[in-house]
Symmetry: C2
Subunit: 159 residues, 2 copies
DNA sequence: TATTGTTATACTCTATAACTATA
DNA sequence: TATAGTTATAGAGTATAACAATA
């Protein structure tokens, strides 16, 4: 098979590779920044023994007392079977409670316990402090521009 | 266990859950936007039978002819064992070639074939068109602000 | 019959240890 | 001995099918 860009004998590339094409893509930069934020956030959550997905679930249950597992799964964009283990973990740790609805005994009403409420307040404060550090140097106007851009992506995607 | 925010009898939550806490977090919005862009991008790559990771590899090999697998793995932040199957796939499809270096017969010099070069040009054009559509409505100044913000995250992270 | 939660399972991605061949 | 590439494998994360209890 014929090749392009190849000298007569195979040759090693320069030490630091060129990212010229990928770096032109905003989606690529977006992904790299998000991965950085995520691994950084994982460190912030570690002392609380929470992962991003258990953190999201805890916060959503606190903000929406009485939520069912199906509703939570839909809100988190997670398949129902996969949510079961997440809710199991939070319940085993005594952070949330599952109560059967009297009006429909198939569904659970999810609520945070007092311990869950306390932990939630602590970890949200820690995450907000983490975010403040991560976005330190951004003016309020710049932050608004970034938020507007992210909202724009939502409108333009899935067209 | 005692609970907070719980009425005397468990009650169903409102239909649309509240995201008030999560939506305040820029990292959360960043992640959601990135996931949207990625699934949208996956659709763009599907006709070319490329995934994001094989696309990145193909582009990096084209931009850095002679790159070794170790260098490519480091550049892509992928473990060497996992890169093998990616390179295998591109080679099987005749898009890249593996040539042993005469100066060090342990390492491969990776290059794109003519077919790989053609496909790369096509798919990069498609991805750039896809990005233009996704970020349509952003002024050049706004785009620069977003890029600067993403660069700022890189500087602030891993502190 | 349809829905909630569950189990079992499979498939993808990613991470680690150990091997081979070359240096 | 050290490194490049490879194999095997284990662990997450995620997706689908099918079941029991309830509606």
């Amino acid at each position: 098979m014929s090749r392009v860009n190849r000298p007569s004998a195979p040759q090693a590339a320069a030490h630091v590779p060129s990212f010229t094409t990928l770096r032109r893509l905003l989606g690529y930069r977006l992904r790299r920044a998000t991965m950085l934020v995520q691994s950084d956030l994982a460190e912030t959550l570690k002392p609380f023994e929470l992962r991003m997905i258990t953190f999201s679930a805890l916060v959503l249950i606190r903000d929406n007392p009485g939520l069912s597992q199906s509703q939570l799964a839909a809100a988190m964009d997670v398949e129902r079977p996969n949510l079961v283990v997440i809710v199991d973990e939070l319940e085993t740790r005594g952070l949330i409670a599952r109560d059967r609805l009297a009006t429909d005994r198939r569904t659970y009403a999810l609520t945070v316990t007092e311990a869950g409420d306390r932990l939630c307040a602590e970890v949200v404060a820690a995450v907000e402090a983490h975010e403040a550090r991560l976005f330190d140097g951004l003016t309020e106007a710049e932050r608004k521009t970034v938020e507007a851009a992210l909202a724009l992506i939502h409108r333009n995607a899935k067209g």
